[in-house]
């Protein structure tokens, strides 16, 4: 992606991050093709939140839309970061899993249907604890089921980022698209500070967080496929291109031997410098690409 930011383009760009989940999803489709499934008027809400005095939301913070992108069948699932931190509960988890399973069923019937996941999430919704974790295990299984037939694309735009169990879902995807504002990781900085102490991770150190989890770093390390600006046009373009590219020859998460060697080569007697690691891994990415 070119990061050319001439003044006019910068002023005219339409921010993606500032959009809510529903707008984010609808902006990606070919004009007039999108249809929301199980929308807020169906009122399928979390049965567990009211039991704990938490107001549910009539779409459970998860928007499912089906339609066409670049003329091909696609389902987009957008998590709403503004509702319970985009966390996965029973209903939002079931929506995402069902969307992936239906895309697989259509793909098996000869209508390849890609999935785009717009991930703004801290992972499991702790008010639904074990059903949230179970839902994420099922989402992961469904990604593995679909990605044999059609690409599964994860987009982490920001500002919530993608953490917890859903970072594994991103890891299983065919492609990951990130902005510089986005963060991707298993454990958020606050969690690490709580579990392992402030010497391990100072969660108030913003530059450290972005140096490790930020989109630019993930992309440079070969862990995200496309780095985009916070621009709806650019993000839409990247998604169209990846959908046209189709299923990758080999998924990143299937290259265990390759990454195992990378970990073996590290010296964990001290913390890793994100810049050094970026340089080493980036060289590896280039070498792989040249093969």
């Amino acid at each position: 992606m070119s990061a050319a930011r001439d003044d006019v383009a910068f002023i005219n760009r339409r921010s993606f991050i500032e959009l809510h989940a529903r707008e984010r999803a609808s902006t990606l489709f070919d004009v007039g093709t999108a249809r929301e499934l199980l929308g807020p008027f169906d009122r399928v809400e979390s049965p567990w939140l009211p039991l704990q005095g938490v107001t549910p939301q009539s779409d459970d913070g998860c928007v499912v839309m089906k339609g066409k992108i670049a003329g091909r069948a696609v389902v987009v699932v957008a998590l709403e970061g503004a509702f319970q931190g985009g966390s996965l509960g029973e209903v939002s988890g079931a929506k995402l899993t069902a969307a992936l399973d239906l895309a697989r069923a259509d793909s098996e019937q000869g209508i390849p249907t890609a999935a785009v996941m717009l991930l703004e999430t801290g992972g499991v919704r702790l008010q639904e604890a074990n059903l949230g974790l179970a839902a994420i295990a099922e989402i992961m299984a469904s990604i593995l089921g679909l990605r044999r037939y059609a690409p599964v694309i994860s987009v982490v735009a920001g500002t919530v980022g993608c953490f917890g169990g859903m970072s594994l879902a991103a890891g299983l995807s065919s492609y990951i698209v990130m902005t510089r504002e986005a963060r991707l990781g298993l454990n958020g900085p606050e969690v690490i500070e709580q579990e392992s102490g402030i010497d391990e991770f100072d969660s108030s150190d913003r530059s450290l967080i972005w140096a490790i989890n930020g989109g630019e770093q993930r992309h440079a390390m070969g862990l995200a496929d496309v780095l985009v600006d916070d621009d709806s046009e650019q993000i839409g373009g990247a998604i169209r291109q990846l959908i046209e590219q189709g299923v990758p020859t080999q998924h990143r998460s299937s290259q265990a031997a390759f990454y195992r060697e990378r970990i073996r080569a590290l010296d964990p007697s001290r913390q890793f410098d994100p810049k050094d690691l970026r340089a080493t891994w980036h060289a590896g990415v280039l070498a792989e690409a040249g093969k």
Binding site: A98, D106, S167, N187, R260
Partner: protein
């Protein structure tokens, strides 16, 4: 409800396989062995604590970078070896404290390592390998997603030392702004919040709860009993299908996961209605 001891994984790995050491080239925190079960053999895998491990945040039974990639590699090995043969069963013996919470882990992308292990287990299941998780102790959060939760059948001991959960109690209480006491009280009425394995069983995700009188010291007789249960689960899993659909079919799931079933049914009918 007991704290994590990290003893049970090794104890049951030894009981079921007769072996106790890692394979050549593997970290000491991952035990892998092929051992007889019924008339054939199965691959057993287990993550155990290693106080001398290279990564300081993964020395106490957490699943870290090395553990996740080793599990992934050892499971892919089975898929490769059995490509044209009968699919060997894979048994994940689960007693994991959690995922590793460290800066090194995040910098080197533990999310991808964890995904790689889940990818391996899930790919094995889809290729027709019976994948069984045997929860003998703790199965917490990302640790369980990485090692065990992609299994077609999950067995767990019916024992107070067994804990399957999204987050350990203290952290969950802190994040949801509750006391540990009020969290425990809520768990008595709201099944998904409970830390008790019998409440977990109400979610319908388990194939079976196993009665074992002394899970810290398995006798030969009880080991054989568990082996028989594993074998029955393996035979059941072989019949397919190879997805996780069975988790929604139990009477418990039909009761507790009504919202999941309703969501799936409605979404499917609306999906079909438009095409």
């Amino acid at each position: 409800m007991s704290d994590y001891t990290g003893v049970r994984g090794r104890v049951w790995f030894r009981a079921l396989t007769g072996q106790d050491s890692p394979l050549a080239g593997d970290p000491k925190s991952v035990l892998t062995a092929d051992a007889p079960i019924g008339a054939s053999r199965a691959r057993f895998l287990c993550v155990v604590p290693d106080s001398q491990g290279r990564f300081p945040c993964a020395r106490h039974g957490e699943v870290g970078l090395e553990e996740a990639y080793t599990l992934a590699a050892r499971v892919h090995e089975v898929i490769e070896q059995d490509r044209n043969n009968t699919k060997r069963p894979i048994v994940a013996i689960v007693d994991v404290k959690s995922q590793a919470y460290g800066r090194r882990e995040e910098t080197a992308a533990i999310f991808l390592a964890a995904a790689a292990a889940a990818d391996a287990y899930g790919s094995a299941r889809m290729a027709g390998h019976p994948v069984i998780a045997l929860v003998v102790g703790h199965a917490i959060s990302g640790g369980f997603l990485t090692h065990g939760y992609q299994a077609n059948r999950i067995l767990a001991f019916d024992d107070a030392g067994v804990m399957i959960h999204a987050m350990h109690k203290e952290a969950a209480a802190r994040i949801t702004r509750r006391s540990v006491e009020s969290l425990e009280k809520l768990g008595k009425t709201i099944a998904p919040l409970s830390y008790d394995v019998r409440d977990f069983a109400k979610l319908g995700l388990l194939h079976e709860l196993l009665q074992v009188s002394d899970p810290d010291h398995p006798s030969d007789e009880e080991t054989q009993k568990v082996r028989d249960k594993l074998l029955a689960a393996i035979e059941d899993a072989r019949r397919g299908p190879f997805d996780l659909g069975n988790r929604l079919e139990s009477p418990e799931a039909r009761e507790t996961r009504q919202a999941t079933l309703r969501t799936r049914a409605l979404l499917e009918s609306q999906w079909r209605a438009g095409t």
